[in-house]
């Protein structure tokens, strides 16, 4: 699949050192669970994003393993500690091997 997949991330542009900020992420993806059938009664094969990670300057903050029960357009909200200026890196891993990325800079 991998068509029209668009990550969206809401993160603050500035933070004070050591501040805990809340990050919201959404990525458009149909997350086919592998449980549904098409009109001919055949199972539609699973096609989901199976992993999501968030790193800050190379240090991991969150690593999520996902299964078929995550809704269409996977949404995550979580907290990250910002120790210094740098980049928040978001990565999504698709079942088909595609990797979607987004980067947000945060200034201290």
């Amino acid at each position: 699949m991998a068509s029209g997949v668009k990550p969206r991330v809401k993160a603050p542009k500035t933070a004070s050192a050591g501040e805990v900020v809340t990050i919201k992420t959404l990525i458009s993806h149909k997350m086919e669970s592998g449980q549904r059938r098409d009109s001919d009664g055949n199972l539609i094969p699973r096609s989901i994003i199976n992993r999501f990670t968030c790193d800050f300057n190379g240090t991991n903050a969150l690593d999520v393993e996902m299964h078929g029960a995550i809704s269409t357009n996977p949404y995550f909200e979580f907290d990250v500690t910002i120790p210094e200026s740098g980049d928040l890196q978001f990565t999504w891993y698709d079942d088909d091997g595609s990797v979607y990325e987004d980067v947000k800079s945060v200034k201290v």
Binding site: L62, I70, S71
Partner: protein
């Protein structure tokens, strides 16, 4: 194909047995829990699971977990065909052991969150969610 009278009766008996034991964890759910905990004891409390009491649409049910001092949290939907939902692994820079997302639920069922604490113990929280329209295609 079709169900014979005997099959139907057996199914009915099974369904009654299931409803009679609402807290029964499905075999697949038990396996998933055992794989996560390694067979260790799981205590109640120490973790908060936010989920709506009634979800109108099973395709997108907002849930949140919060467990101070957890290194990982596993979410399970015991009534789904595949009980695994997600595993949150909190890294060094996690601001708090809190995360929320949206999940699919096939029907009214228990949602379970199990936290793996930094000291190696496990805590769980369960919440029953009533689902008006299931989220499995159907």
């Amino acid at each position: 194909m079709g169900f014979s009278r005997r099959d139907t009766l057996a199914l009915g008996a099974g369904a009654i047995a299931l409803t009679a034991l609402p807290l029964r964890v499905g075999a697949a759910g038990e396996d998933a829990i055992a794989a996560f905990t390694g067979g260790a004891d799981v205590s109640e409390g120490g973790i908060t699971l936010d989920a709506p009491e009634i979800a109108e649409n099973g395709n997108t049910v907002p849930v949140g977990v919060s467990a101070d001092g957890a290194s990982a949290v596993m979410l399970l939907a015991l009534g789904n065909p595949n009980p695994d939902v997600a595993v949150f692994n909190f890294g060094e820079l996690a601001g708090s052991q809190t995360a929320s997302t949206r999940i699919r639920l096939a029907g009214t069922q228990d949602v379970v969150a199990i936290a793996k604490m930094a000291d190696g113990s496990f805590a769980s929280a369960t919440k029953n969610v009533k689902v008006t329209i299931g989220g499995c295609g159907g």
